[in-house]
Amino acid sequence: MKRNEHELNKANNQNDHLLNDESKKYMIDIVCYLRTKNVDSYEIEVIRNDILRIFLDAQNRGETIDKILGSDYKSFCDGVLQSTGYRKKRNIICEWIDGLLSAFLVLVAITFLFSGMCSKVINHIFHGMEFDWVWGITSGNLITWSVLIVAVFVSLFVATNTSLSKGKKHSRTIYFLFGACLMVVLLAMAYITKTYFYNVIFYIHLGVLGVAFLIGYVMHRLLKSCS
């Protein structure tokens, strides 16, 4: 995120709190819709800033958002999209790669923290217990990471692509059930992979892992700057 964008995002988040519930709902839907349409993220913040001003002004005049945007606010968004520039393909690709890389790094870090490796390192340093500084990656780990990354991207895709779908408004219960089912599947998967897929595929030295993380972080920063 560029500096200007960061500042604008911060100001927008502050102004968001001034919106009433009705305006907030519209705002979320509009921003989600724009995000699916490959609009530059800085451009989205500029548009968000403008719409926030329009909504707050309307609020102060005691007007409803329906009156400001009309009943079909998808056509308002499409009008905005026609007036603004789309992102370059290179930027979109950078963002996708960055998303995948970040998700992978976070998953590896979480798995490492809960794998018992930390206690082995601490015991080795403070109590002199034997430790070879390698971490065994199991087939279960690889399956879990792959499924989780796919689940996150599918959820994001569904959430952003249904933001303005009129007539098919899903109730909170359906979203809750979807979340609950996903949680059951993930827990079942955690159990299955731990019980049946515990064979180590390869070993990685913790020093190599540290260097890989460092490279991953540098790549994340580079990809972020060009996305």
Binding site: D50, I54, D57, K67, I68, G70, F76, G79, S83, T84
Partner: protein, 111 residues
């Protein structure tokens, strides 16, 4: 009330005309258009057009304090915008003449 399809092509030029007469903001533009007989044109209709005018550098925006709420975005016409407005007026006159000719004095035959 003027149908929205008919308004579509000329609203941009009309907005430029309003901004040309004085520095103004979205809601005020909609009110001025209403006062001129354009009917209810919401800010939601005007905003995408203002965005396009800004992108094309026909107008520039400055932020000014408002009595209520956050700062307002005021629009000013640029020299490029003025040239575009002249072109719009020229095209509008041509269209106006053609439509008037057709409806008032032109030969109109039906089979």
């Amino acid at each position: 009330m003027i149908p929205s399809q008919m308004l579509k092509g000329m609203l941009e030029g009309c907005i430029l005309k309003v901004i040309n007469s004085e520095e103004t903001y979205g809601y005020q533009i909609s009110q001025k258009l209403k006062a001129h007989g354009f009917g209810d044109i919401s800010e939601g209709t005007i905003y995408p057009l203002l965005l396009r005018l800004s992108k094309g550098e026909f107008v520039t925006a400055i932020y000014k304090d408002s009595n209520v709420g956050p700062k307002r975005k005021y629009f000013q016409i640029t020299s490029k915008g003025k040239a575009e407005l002249e072109l719009f007026e020229e095209h509008w006159r041509e269209m106006e003449n053609a439509v008037n000719h057709l409806f008032k004095g032109g030969n109109y035959e039906t089979k």
